[in-house]
Symmetry: C2
């Protein structure tokens, strides 16, 4: 494997490791824990789950893979802060959507030819991309991996110490 292929493989591996770690954490949390705030007056676990599902879903069009599966999550879990909308989807549904979004994403990620990672993503103009070629699909993957880690660190606080 050449170094360019290896650099993409490493980026994808790191994404998958974060997804696996998040799913492992999610399995350990009861619904009761998920409706608890991660710290006093902060987001609830269920909000973080919905937020990450909505953000990952939007990666599908951002990376030119396909249209979002559940665009209705955006207004609830990205535009609105937690506890400002009373009716949010049930946890069991969010968990299914989380799994479906990530399954769809990883399929497209694994099928994208290496050179395609260096093409522009969907929210940058051709003019700006010519000036800033690092704002490509690979950069989206890395920054979303960090975003996932950020919120996983918060969700982990709901685990009770044994």
């Amino acid at each position: 494997m050449n170094h360019l292929d290896l650099s993409i493989k490493i980026a994808i591996n790191n994404w998958q490791l974060q997804i696996i770690a998040f799913n492992s954490l999610l399995e350990k949390l009861s619904d009761q824990q998920l409706i608890t705030e991660i710290a006093p007056a902060k987001n609830r676990g269920v909000y973080l789950l919905g937020h990450l599902t909505a953000v990952h879903d939007l990666m599908l069009p951002l990376l030119h893979f396909r249209k979002a599966l559940y665009p209705e999550l955006h207004s609830v879990f990205v535009e609105a802060a937690d506890k400002t909308i009373v009716e949010i989807p049930p946890i069991i549904q969010l968990k299914e959507q989380w799994a479906a979004v990530n399954d769809t994403l990883i399929w497209h990620i694994n099928h994208l030819p290496v050179e395609e990672w260096f093409t522009q993503h969907n929210s940058i103009s051709e003019e700006n991309f010519a000036k800033e070629p690092h704002r490509n699909r690979l950069n989206v993957l890395l920054s979303r991996t960090n975003h996932l880690s950020y919120h996983r660190g918060q969700l982990a606080l709901l685990i009770k110490k044994s």
Copy 2:
């Protein structure tokens, strides 16, 4: 810039963005906030600062750059859990060490030739590296970037809502 160079540039950019975001957060937190637990019965902010300083310091030998600057932090902030050691360094000293470690790291990171990112790090044998070539220095950079995001997400909980 060719795609291989670009992939390394993107990885380094993402590291730097996380460091900048962490420093911006740190500036907003008072010493009083830093000695507060991020959530009830969880780590204090100061422990996360020490933990990240110790882990980043150990990246210096792990990436074959140089020996650690403050190896004494390892026992306090990696081996020991928070609140099990009464005497920890003062916050002002930890902040200086945090800055010194990251300044040293970024100097070496910026001077490492692109091809060198694909060589093995310091805690894998030649035999295992031959089988798993993705366990290289680039992979260390990406996984430590995620580690930093993980704890930044936790530290951000100490910010009071305005």
